[in-house]
């Protein structure tokens, strides 16, 4: 059983995830509100950035949902990946928000 730390909806959740179960399935089974769409690797709603850990991403997926470039840069689809170690993942929405917040240009505007 791996521990998946999931940042979603501005919160942090801990998900117990068996090695043959996707983080999306594990999160949903534990009533954790992970963004969910087609669950077939087609729509990209469950796209996450992997901040830490090893995983295997199913490669047959829509390249609109997860491009090769994103794949190389540590993005994954939570519906069709398997953990290979404890994982730390963040939803695309939260990751973008975090990037904007840490952007000095945006901080200057807030002042």
């Amino acid at each position: 059983m791996y521990k998946v730390t999931l940042k979603a909806r501005g919160q942090q959740f801990e998900v117990s995830c068996p090695p043959n179960v996707t983080p999306l399935r594990a999160a949903r089974d534990q009533f954790i509100p992970i963004p969910t769409g087609c669950q077939q690797g087609g729509c990209g709603m469950c796209k996450v950035k992997v901040l830490d850990g090893e995983y295997a991403q199913e490669l047959v997926r829509s390249h609109d949902a997860l491009s090769n470039e994103e794949l190389e840069n540590g993005y994954a689809l939570a519906c069709c990946m398997m953990p290979k170690s404890d994982l730390e993942i963040i939803t695309l929405e939260d990751y973008e928000k975090r990037k904007n917040e840490s952007n000095p240009a945006n901080l200057a505007e807030i002042k």
Binding site: T36, G37, C38, Q39, Q40, G42, M45, S62
Partner: protein, 304 residues
């Protein structure tokens, strides 16, 4: 008057062609009618024409094109002019570009979707024939819908695309979703046959597919579809319920590439003299899902 009869075909992008063919033949229960290149052609048992669905292998999901069948060759030329007059560019797709098809008129909608009109397509007939036919075939598999019913697309400028279908293609609007003040159009349901919708748009990103709907008879068939989908462990979006819009009975689920499918039953007969039914944004939950009365994130945001 020139007439567009119905939505006759849709071409979907699929990620794994054989897995998709297996799903569309065994779970949905369509019949494979031919193959050409990276495409597989399928029809429902109650359709006469060569195909209503084309699956084309791609590295993304979504809609390649969809086509409406017109009643005569003259209608094709008539609508070609009307489309040009509206300001859309048309091109002719030549005979046999795809399997079993004659010439088609191609154009891109103001929402970015590729659309065609056609008249000529090979006639295959139904399994039950058309002389003293039985009401249904014993040889069907899976959900076995009668036909492809409609598609729902997303786009930004719904007012222009609605005007296009009404002015250039003689469609009518059966229902619409608007902001409370009525200023902005958030959903537009259009018909050319007597169905409550042949095509619909909801506000969203351009050129995306929300779902392709297949026609089944009754609520019982929607429920039976749900059973079959569970047997095959197909991911659901929405389990059986009723729509406020169109009054149809419905179930939503995803094909192996994440394209949303619907098994749709009922809905009223639409006639050209009906007023457009309006749903205001504050009642949209009830309009879309009559029982649940609230929208779901997956239904609103998962697109291909």
């Amino acid at each position: 008057m020139a007439k567009i009869m119905r939505m006759g075909r849709a071409e979907l992008k699929v990620l794994d062609l054989e897995k998709s063919v297996d799903y569309y033949t065994n779970v949905i229960g369509l019949e494979e009618t031919g193959r050409m290149g990276d495409s597989v052609y399928l029809k429902a048992w109650d359709e006469y024409d060569h195909h209503s669905l084309i699956l084309t292998k791609s590295n993304s999901a979504g809609l390649v094109h969809f086509g409406f069948k017109v009643e005569t060759e003259d209608d094709l030329a008539y609508f070609e002019n009307k489309i040009e007059e509206f300001g859309c560019t048309t091109t002719r797709i030549s005979n046999n570009t795809r399997l079993g098809e004659g010439e088609a008129v191609h154009f891109i909608l103001p929402t970015g979707h590729h659309c065609e009109l056609y008249h000529e397509i090979d006639f295959l007939g139904k399994k039950v024939g058309h002389i003293n036919p039985h009401p249904w075939s014993l040889e069907t598999k899976g959900i076995a819908p009668h036909s492809l019913d409609h598609i729902l697309l997303t786009g930004d400028d719904l007012k222009t695309v609605t005007r296009f279908f009404i002015e250039a293609l003689n469609f009518r609007q059966s229902e619409r979703i608007t902001t409370i003040d009525g200023e902005e159009l958030l959903g537009s349901f259009l018909f050319t046959s007597n169905k409550a919708h042949d095509l619909a748009f909801v506000k969203g990103p351009d050129a995306k597919l929300h779902h392709a709907g297949f026609h089944v008879d009754e609520l019982h068939d929607v429920f039976r579809a749900a059973d079959i989908l569970s047997m095959y462990e197909v991911p659901f979006d929405v389990t059986p319920t009723r729509h406020g819009l169109t009054r149809g009975k419905t179930i939503y689920f995803f094909d192996p590439s994440g394209n949303r499918n619907e098994a749709f039953a009922g809905g009223y007969y639409a006639f050209p003299d009906m007023p457009t039914v309006t749903w205001t944004e504050d009642k949209i939950g009830q309009g879309i899902f009559y029982h649940r009365r609230e929208l779901s994130e997956s239904f609103m945001k998962a697109l291909t």
